[in-house]
Amino acid sequence: MGVAKAIRDGYGEALLELGRSDRNVVVLDADLAESTRSSVFRRAYPERFFNAGIAEQNMINMAVGLALSGKTVFASSFAIFATGRCWEQLRNSVAATRANVKVVASHGGLTVGADGLSHQCVEDLSLMRTIPHFTVIVPCDWIEAKKAVLAAARMQGPVYIRTSRPKTEQLTTEETPFVIGKSVCLRAGGDVALIACGIMVGAAVAAAKALAEEGIGATVIDMHTIKPLDAQAVIAAARATGALVTAEEHTLIGGLGSAVAETVVGWCPVPVEMVGIRDRFGQSGEPEELLRKYGLTSEEICKAAKRALSRKKG
């Protein structure tokens, strides 16, 4: 289905649309415009694009100054620099003033590949989830990324969107509704629910197909918004299936799995098995090699689903 494109390509396309429709949109980058795809905006609207150079902290706070002066500001870098290096700026200047700053960071996760540990951000969702007033989004394909960026521009306040480097398959269509905080059910099944974000949504769909061949019905939820989490959908899935699996290209500490577990533990405690990275750094390698090594595959999701099923009560 559809075209294979990188999730970050959706950002570039959305910026082009925003540049055309909204003169108030300003874009910043920190010397990575080609990689993040903000370069698409730079080419079309150079007067509203500012390169901050290799100085991410200053970029984030320039974004605050522009936003407090009425601009809708998009600021981009790699996820590790945008969130890790600038966490305090994001907390004390962006979130504390509720500035209308949208941080769209590419190169989230291990699929950065050969650049290795220093550039593979697997902590951004935990980091961003802890900051009040931030909305946190991880689109599953380029088309959802495009819709997420347009939706972020429409809402007032701080937003973090994680995009990824490699080309991935298109899982949603132009017609798939996108509402921030409202998950998308891609497949229905009664035995177990697979809740995933980003590139792991594709793996969850593949896992659901494999499980179906073994007679196991799996729901697949594209949880594109990590915060505010679609708690209603999580609780409904927990009630309907009694067994959940989460899947994310991220550390298991504090990301999607944690958010889902925090929700079900209070409302509908059921077994939750988490697929993600176990408190480790990445390393250089091809994306596929890395995903296999760190257990981020549809096979791992299938195994987790079976573990969850076996733990299910009666």
Binding site: R48, Q57, N61, G65, L66, T97
Partner: protein, 285 residues
């Protein structure tokens, strides 16, 4: 016509200077009162910057206290956010909020938080307190002004110890790179930081040469001399295709003899007795 035109065209004669000195005296007294009541806060850096803030807000800043969000206003950012009592005392004096708020400083539910909170205080442009961030925000505001074809100015006041933060120099580089000549950095150069003298802690000197090297026009002044402060603000307003930095030599704790140039008065509130002595020195009964 700019709202401050009246103040701006007033000759800097003795009577005007005396008026400003009287305002600064009242502001210093309120700084002492509010910190003493709060039981914590930063008197040293609040008193060192008091004359600078008085000069900016009462002579050159183009602002409307009754309309804090007026789009054409000049922006002032107190990047050294721990000097919040000085900013609050000045904003209250300008009429941004009732002066009754002074005595609730740092108390639960107060408008006047320990460090400036832009979501609570009218007239506070951005939240500060974590050092090193204000100049970057100012650069963003100056860029926005240029995009919108507005002629407002942006003033950012930094501490000298604050210059040890790397982000300050990222912002300094950016302001010069974008040729933002409507931004003015004012450094409150009082020579002290919490742990001691700046030279002994992490020497940011030579301060004027650093700003020059980053592409700024630089002027050094006595930060307690109103004529010099105002002349420097006028100099900064002259278009020169580059940003302006005013390095203001000040005395930490200025105006209260036992606090002056004393590092231990960086972040300690005066006791009731000390406050009384301080207020007596400031001419308050």
């Amino acid at each position: 016509m700019r709202d401050t035109e009246k103040a701006a065209t007033r000759p800097l004669n003795d009577s005007f200077i005396r008026e400003l000195e009287e305002r600064a005296r009242v502001i210093r007294s309120n700084i002492i009162r509010m910190i003493a009541r709060a039981g914590s806060g930063h008197p040293g850096g609040s008193l060192s910057v008091a004359d600078i803030l008085t000069a900016v807000y009462f002579t050159r800043l183009n602002h409307r206290p009754k309309n804090p969000r007026w789009a054409d206003r000049d922006r002032f950012i107190l990047s050294k956010g721990h000097a919040a009592p000085a900013l609050y005392a000045v904003l209250g004096e300008c009429g941004y909020f009732p002066k009754g708020e002074f005595l609730k400083l740092r108390k639960f539910g107060a408008m006047l938080q320990g460090h400036p909170d832009a979501t609570r205080v009218p007239g506070v442009e951005t939240s500060t307190g974590s050092l090193g961030q204000g100049l970057s925000v100012g650069v963003g505001m100056a860029l926005a002004g240029r995009l919108d074809g507005k002629d407002y100015r942006v003033y950012v006041c930094l501490g000298d110890g604050e210059l040890e933060e790397g982000e300050v120099w990222e912002a300094a580089m950016a302001a010069a790179h974008y040729t933002l000549d409507r931004i003015c950095a004012i450094v409150d150069f009082n020579g002290l930081q919490i742990d001691g003298r700046i030279q002994d802690t992490m020497n940011p000197e030579p301060i004027p040469a650093k700003w020059e090297a980053f592409g700024w026009a630089v002027r050094e002044i006595d930060g307690h001399d109103f004529r010099q402060i105002i002349a420097a603000l006028d100099w900064a307003a002259e278009p020169k295709g580059k940003p302006s930095a005013i390095i203001a030599r000040t005395v930490k704790g200025k105006g209260v003899s036992f606090m002056e140039a004393q590092v231990n008065w960086h972040g300690v509130a005066p006791t009731a007795d000390e406050a009384k002595r301080a207020l007596a020195e400031l001419g308050e009964a």
